[in-house]
């Protein structure tokens, strides 16, 4: 069971956990991103996330399907937020439910690592003295 969402409103971790919980679930691993107050030693005011929504959903679904086929997992929920996020807010939640915990850990780690490499979502960091699209330049 796969649940993929891109939302403009605050993410709800419990919704993701509920989705991946079932009677055969023995362990759930959850990754929750959090907007940090600094990056490379520089103070961050807030972030903005932009997504190419149909492709982002398609790539997130690929990750979920690969996770389900590669690891012994039943259920995965991936939610990503867009728009302006303040310090401490949550850009991403990935929850994975599995009969045994090791598969849940591995699938969750695979999902967040791959999401950061393939899903067309972009983060702009806003500083006191300017702004930058993360990773755009070498």
């Amino acid at each position: 069971m796969i649940d993929i969402q891109i939302l403009e409103s605050p993410l709800n971790v419990q919704v993701c956990i509920d989705f991946v919980s079932g009677a055969a679930t023995g362990g759930i691993n959850v990754f929750v991103g959090s907007v940090r107050n600094q990056t490379r030693g520089k103070r961050v005011l807030y972030l903005e996330f932009e997504a190419y929504v149909p492709m982002a959903i398609s790539e997130m679904r690929k990750i979920a399907e690969t996770a389900c086929s590669r690891f012994q997992i039943d259920r995965i929920s991936i939610h990503h937020r867009t728009g302006r996020l303040e310090i401490g807010e949550i850009p991403v939640v990935i929850a994975v439910g599995a009969p045994h915990r090791q598969a849940a850990f591995e699938a969750c780690q695979y999902a967040i690592d791959t999401l950061k490499q393939t899903v067309p979502i972009w983060k702009k960091e806003h500083f006191e003295d300017g702004e930058v699209w993360v990773a755009a330049h070498p």
Binding site: M55, H80, P120, W122, W133
Partner: protein
């Protein structure tokens, strides 16, 4: 053929718009599109990478474009 190119992140800043209308020869490939973009927007040379998506899928350089394709510029992603 006429193509409408969607731009995101820094590519939208470079284009100054979220869409670009482009005229390309029939059976142009992704590599031709990238060359045309590089010619018209030298700032693309400064990016760490630039992928092109066609109909929401990452496209190889030799893929032939068709007029109804949804084409998008995908600068280095930074979600999560």
């Amino acid at each position: 053929m006429k193509l409408t190119i969607l731009a995101f992140g820094i590519t939208r800043d470079i284009l100054g718009a979220s869409e670009l209308n482009l005229e390309l020869p029939e059976s142009a490939r992704i590599e031709d599109l990238k060359a045309e973009l590089a010619r018209r927007f030298p700032a693309f040379a400064n990016l760490s990478a630039l992928a092109i998506a066609v109909n929401s899928q990452y496209a190889e350089l030799d893929l032939e474009l068709k007029e109804l394709d949804e084409v998008a510029l995908i600068p280095p992603v930074s979600g999560g």
